[in-house]
Homo-oligomer: 536 residues x 2
């Protein structure tokens, strides 16, 4: 069989197999300390369990082959395997157990907006479910659509829509196609001296279309803005035809319907072009570390910066537990050996030299005034160096029987401490006292912030038992989040995993409105069935 190329991920692991490693020594010690002796073994081979046969007959696919070309309508096992589910721990556990039941019946690769529209028309005609596929990085079951009631399910792979269509240097906007992965978009813009400034942890695999469809937020969003703030225009293929939005930076022409497409997770249409605000590539980037006596003290400092309009480009704060095991430096996870307890904060300033220096000085004055201890540039550079590596580490931990997963939320500043305490308590109660529950704040606003939890626990047993273990913990934490009035997700989207909690957040009427919009744009319901839109 063909091994996955670096741009396609195997359903059982994150990323490029060439970059996957066994657990580093630094982490081994920590893991044994926390969870006892491990069965240390080499990284297991990728599991190429057989797939269920494609349920779509050749005759049904024939018109699609005629439109897209034979090579872009694939039903072979290798292609289907690489489009099976996303990258949540449940997704990985199921694949590790050899369960590839969610494999699409076919993978179709349209090469233009019009071909996307043709796929949708075909899907409506034959009542085939369509799952838009970008980087395959969903961690909320966003690629596990319902297939019951449909003639089959196709993965609509946007891999051929990879153009930088145009750049408007006066308005500082660019039109990008949805299949561009983060690094590809940055390379194309970089050749023009520009950047999008959007760097979520999934950056190396996730795509422009996915960023838009899930309202992604990146590690530099304090400086560059969330992805929904970067988008100024959209082109969407829907079962009812083409939809273009974006007449001006802002307007008062009724509700801002761009914000209805952003976050629609492929359930309302397939985004085929995204017009984004761009910035000049920063001339200077400076990252620094700060130590705070407590999570509360560091969080208050973040709030002060946000409310004073002095936010750096990047700002993150690990709680005491996360700091203690060096999670901010995936290459050096393990006991930090720090003499002093406390919390690590990373700040990053990017831009023109004068502005960076002015911003850094202003932020430094505030942070020192509030009791932060500057740690110099080394911790910041270490974080930058390792910031896309955490998903590899999760695989290595699973290999040695340690369940690792993340979940995140956001709330108002006045509710932060309560939310932190209650979610942590819920996770600990569900996973047991032996579990590690770590947290950081990675996105801050004038009125509130995100909380990003990482848990590590002795796996309950085989993949099935471990899956049950995690689902129970996830449910407990999700209940705690919504009980505290916080959001079920700050930047991981709804998918299937968060859908049961969405109505608690947006109300029965919110669910009703989403169903009404879906019914209007996708009357036969072929687009990503079961994703995002709450059931009645």
């Amino acid at each position: 069989m063909t091994r996955p190329t670096p741009s396609e991920m195997h359903p059982s692991r994150w990323g490029d197999p060439a970059r996957a490693t066994a657990l580093p020594d630094s982490a081994r010690g920590l893991v044994e300390l926390a969870f006892g002796p491990r069965p240390w073994h080499e990284r297991p081979a990728l599991d190429d369990a057989p797939l269920p046969p494609s349920g779509l007959a050749d005759a049904l696919l024939a018109p699609l082959r005629a439109t897209l070309g034979d090579e872009h309508v694939r039903t072979d096992d290798d292609t289907r395997r690489l489009r099976t589910r996303g990258k949540s721990t449940p997704d990985l556990l199921r694949a590790r157990a050899g369960d590839l039941a969610d494999a699409p019946d076919a993978v179709v690769r349209p090469g233009s907006h019009d071909e996307v529209a043709a796929v949708l028309a075909w899907a409506v005609e034959h009542h085939v479910a369509v799952v838009p596929f970008g980087g395959g990085t969903s961690v909320t079951g966003g690629l596990v659509a319902r297939r019951e009631g449909f003639a089959g399910l196709v993965s609509l792979d946007l891999v051929r829509l990879k153009r930088l269509i145009s750049v408007d240097r006066v308005s500082m906007t660019a039109v990008l196609e949805p299949g561009l992965r983060g690094p590809e978009a940055e390379a194309l813009l970089g050749a023009e001296g520009l950047t999008l400034g959007h760097f979520p942890q999934s950056f190396e695999y996730a795509t422009i279309g996915g960023f838009a469809a899930t309202r992604s937020s990146g590690q530099s969003s304090a400086g560059y803005g969330r992805f929904d703030a970067l988008v100024v225009g959209l082109r969407v293929a829907t079962p009812r035809g083409e939809w273009r939005l974006g007449s001006a930076p802002a307007n008062a022409a009724g509700p801002d319907l761009r914000q209805l497409v952003l976050g629609s997770e492929g359930a309302f249409g397939v985004i085929t072009e995204v017009t984004v605000r761009v910035r000049r590539r920063p001339a200077v980037t400076t990252y620094e570390g700060w130590r705070w006596p407590s999570f509360d003290a560091g969080a208050d400092a973040m709030r002060t910066l946000a409310q004073a309009g002095l936010l750096p480009t990047v700002i993150r704060l690990s709680d005491e537990s996360e700091t203690a095991i060096n999670l901010a430096r995936p290459d050096a996870i393990g006991p930090s050996g720090q003499a002093e307890p406390g919390c690590l904060m990373i700040t990053g300033h990017e831009g023109e030299p004068d502005a960076v220096e002015a911003g850094r000085l202003a932020a430094t004055a505030v942070l020192e005034g509030l009791g932060g201890t500057p740690l110099g540039t080394e911790p910041g550079e270490a974080w930058v160096h390792g910031r896309f590596d955490a998903p590899y580490l999760r695989d290595s931990m699973l290999d040695v029987g340690v369940l690792v997963e993340t979940m995140e939320t956001a709330t108002w500043w006045s509710n932060r401490a309560r939310l932190y305490t209650e979610v942590k308590a819920a996770l600990t109660a569900s996973l047991g006292e032996g579990a590690l529950v770590l947290c950081h704040i990675s996105h801050v606003y004038e009125t509130g912030c995100s909380l990003y939890f990482t848990v590590a626990a002795q796996a309950a047993g085989d993949e099935s038992a471990t899956l049950d273990q995690w689902l129970a913990a996830k449910a407990a934490a999700s209940d705690a989040m919504t009980d505290a009035g916080a959001t079920i997700t700050h930047h991981h989207a709804v998918g299937t995993d968060h859908r049961p909690w969405l109505t608690r957040e947006i109300g029965e009427l919110g669910g009703s409105v989403l169903r009404a919009v879906k019914a209007d744009l996708d009357p036969t319901g072929v687009l990503n069935p079961g994703i995002m839109v709450p059931v009645a």
Copy 2:
């Protein structure tokens, strides 16, 4: 009869009668120069033409009286007159002609969310159209709902919902009721040392609910943000029940449904609480004037500031024509007598002393470097002093037979010059070479800006002829805006006047989605029928 109190406006004129004046001498000269001798007369008396009788029988109103109390269900002429239409020039011309056919059948004044809900339930039961009424300042026909097909039409006056419900000083948010007018909200927040920072020209009359329902943008929005950026939470009464939104500053929990309520103009529900981001009241405010050799040069300077992240709190630029007649200073309109031609820019910096000084110095360096001539603080202070007075001037001009109206749009920076030229040409072609067509930029973004046009023309004749004259000019300009790909409105909302152009901006699918949402939340269509939502 009772004369309008300062908080209620007569349908034929703007504002407080005690502040209305005849045209100042400075403007007289200009008007005679432009349009010839005028019939100079005193300000005419308010026209108290009789209203059509209320079409709602007492029996129908009885349950409402039982719920709200007799004094809050009014059918007297004076109360109905003061809730008749808004403040567009067509609204004023119709009232001046004695046409008050759009008067509501009754004015109802609920005192709480639950009472608003009760009014909606009553309206659904009896199929009565409901027009939410805040300050009555709409300039796009937002208060002229369709009554055909309904048993009657009530104005749902939010005047009793005027509380500052709570302040969260940690999160820097406040919960406001929708009936608070701009100055009332600022006074309540000011007592806490806080400000909303939202100052549209309608500030003295417009309300919190109206700001939210129309996605208002104020004169300080460069610094404080548009109103839709200030809103973090909403409570809405709909015919299907209560809807609360706002779990966090930002999230990825599906589309941001707050943005569907913001801009819904009372067609989806009645906003009963608005949670807004607040700021500390600025310790320092500094306004300055700058002269630019041309509108293009000044606009390029604005773009440079916006793209460098150096925007002041306020930034405005008048074109050559507007500068020449001093429109930026309503108390001194007339030939400016300026020796040099050029364009006036106003900049304003607000905040803590150090930040203001740093921002002012950085902006000054950019503006001087680009060829701007500093004019000191006097022009800026003059603008601040007169900034809410322009609507009074429009009445005085109408009194002497000069049609004055405004309209506004927004576009990307690269499209600015084209949009300016084409809208100006369309207005001039429609109104004749003798018309004054003036323009300023009052809202700027990294990717584009607004254009705000003011026209003055010899009125075509009586109110009916003048109305036809204006409607033709408005249509020509609206066509030019949408032909140029710009928005039909940057901050005046859709109402009835912009509705015919909305589909050109948001597409047939956009219109369809708005109808689907309306049908879902307001199944019998009683809420503001004919407003905003495009016809199929």
